[in-house]
Symmetry: C2
Subunit: 355 residues, 2 copies
């Protein structure tokens, strides 16, 4: 394996000293980039893209080629590969969110779900990881990822996206045993999926709990966090002679940071509603923090973006343990020049906070 030329992302996740605050953007390989849209236009429907390791590698590299400031690459893939591998039949209609051909409604549906084998059933993801890792050639670390069990369960029970998760929540409250069985199967699946990605070359992994923040405080503990804790306890934490940091990101989880920090991850992702300095005071002795600029700030002018970056850096304060990011994914209508201004501001303005 080639030595890493830039490891400040991994160092910050482990709270080791860095020269400047590392930065990447959730959904950095995406529709806001004209080069991504051009690749997409050539390549066909969305799942075919995810299933093609060469394409996944091509679009993963695009933001790195455009923005030399990026300190990490993230696997290009979909969040719903696991339910698809369980036989739910993921598809996308143009202009719509993801849909499943099968919907999980009953205990019998859940009992019938297989646990996917990452190499047999999700080999295309493992191939994408190893292809990207080879192509990166030590430039920056590669992040692998998965959705959280609760987040995956919402899509499987609703049959796609949802505004209020009414079917999933009705199952949770009416039939908690069935929900627990579903989440347990998903936790097993995510664990072996992420371990597969690590063995294929992912140097850090992130669990995206996109919809955990929509649960009540009590339901979050029982139906989302408990399963992420289980996953983390089953992950390979060292590979190629180096720690493999785990980032746990519950969007809307700011109220529960103390308990999330106790769940075994190395770092917590923060959305933008949480003041990062306050978050550091609450949990900073246990974990690193990743975030947390409101992605819509990228619609403002570069000077305003720079001001907001400065405010967040000042709130975090001196020392390592901060990976700069947006509080959620970058959106398709953002001007790529604004994303560049954001990334430059992070490196330029953060040097003063490191020795």
């Amino acid at each position: 394996m080639t030595a890493l030329k830039n490891d400040r992302f991994l160092r910050a996740l482990l709270k080791q000293p860095v020269d400047v605050t590392p930065v990447w953007m959730m959904r950095q390989a995406g529709r806001y980039l004209p080069e991504y849209r051009a690749s997409r236009a050539h390549a066909g429907d969305f799942m075919s893209l995810c299933m093609n390791p060469e394409f996944a590698c091509e679009v993963t590299m695009q933001p790195l080629d455009r923005y030399p400031q990026l300190d990490a690459a993230i696997l290009f893939s979909d969040i719903l590969t696991i339910p698809d591998a369980m036989g739910q039949g993921l598809y996308f209609e143009t202009g719509e969110g993801p849909r499943f051909k099968k919907v999980v409604s009953t205990l019998a549906d859940i009992e019938a779900l297989p646990i996917p084998d990452p190499h047999k059933d999700l080999g295309y993801v493992m191939d994408a990881v190893s292809t990207i890792r080879r192509e990166l050639n030590g430039r920056v670390p590669l992040i692998g990822f998965s959705g959280s069990p609760w987040t995956l369960a919402t899509y499987m029970v609703e049959g796609g996206s949802s505004k209020d998760f009414r079917k999933t929540k009705a199952m949770l409250y009416d039939n908690p045993q069935a929900m627990h069985l579903l989440l347990d199967k998903l936790a097993q699946s995510v664990t072996s999926y992420l371990n597969g990605q690590i063995m294929a070359g992912a140097q850090a992994v992130q669990i995206f709990d996109t919809w955990g923040g929509n649960l009540s405080a009590a339901a979050y503990q029982e139906f989302s966090l408990a399963y992420m804790r289980k996953i983390v306890s089953g992950l390979i934490r060292e590979h190629e002679g180096r720690k493999v940091p785990v980032i746990m990101f519950t969007k809307g989880g700011g109220l529960w940071l103390e308990s999330i920090a106790d769940a075994g991850a190395d770092a917590l992702g923060l959305d933008w509603t949480c003041d990062i300095g306050e978050a550091r005071r609450r949990v900073g002795s246990k974990v690193a923090l990743q975030g947390n600029m409101d992605p819509t700030v990228l619609y403002a002018k570069p000077e305003a973006i720079r001001t907001e970056v400065g405010r967040i850096l000042a709130s975090y304060g001196k020392g390592s343990g901060h990976v700069f990011n947006l509080g959620h994914g970058i959106t398709p209508e953002v001007d790529p020049e604004h994303a560049g201004a954001f990334l430059r501001a992070v490196h330029e303005l953060s040097a003063q906070y490191h020795e």
Copy 2:
């Protein structure tokens, strides 16, 4: 004025002893009720309904007639009456959210906005309040309401509903002076609008900050909470020889409860992501709390609804200062029988927490 036959809602907001925990539901006069849908079908488009005091009174009374457990009535009206009275041209397309004919984009647009006079420009709301109050005849108290300045501003700048408030946030970050002028005009408008409702007979008022929780922690303080504080300081707090309690509800504001509790309201509304016992420990010495069952629990069976009501009551614990409610509005697909089971459970299970 007729004496109030049931004042436990007002008493709980002021932390005075009650026999059982009072309860009402946000959006209790709404599409989940067949009698509401029948009235709607007769009456024409949505804004015509809001502008007709007889209709507003009719639908306000419907849930009270169906559910004897309801401890408060809330004015039936739209959240966007103020921007409409400012000349923005509110309209609704079937199956769509609210839209405005005019959009606020520039400082000049904002400078041109008038401050509506509640009696001249929003007289239909004042008439609805006095009509409903007369019809209630002391049965339960009547709640008046308004959207918060920030929430109203998002609709005015976006021209309607939005997923990410990109135009409003771009204005906030690029042109904070313009945004402050808009919010200041809205705060003045909301203050006189709510005072008009109080003088017309509203016995408590609620400020709905539906979109404040989408702001960063710093932006929330400066662009939402500051203006709600200003409103509260200008409200009539006593009328007809009785205190007029003010409820402040920021959906997604659980992280900021301490500062919201300092803003001068008598009670805070809580969405369902916040544990109410924890919220009480954080701010309960200053304010009463209203909430906070996840509205999707109403999709579960009555036994599960009852369990969740019991869990929330136990979390709040003994003593007054709790008004039971959902954490957001009841949704159109809920079975009215389930809403009834919810309301009964609150009264039945809460007696043990009061002397």
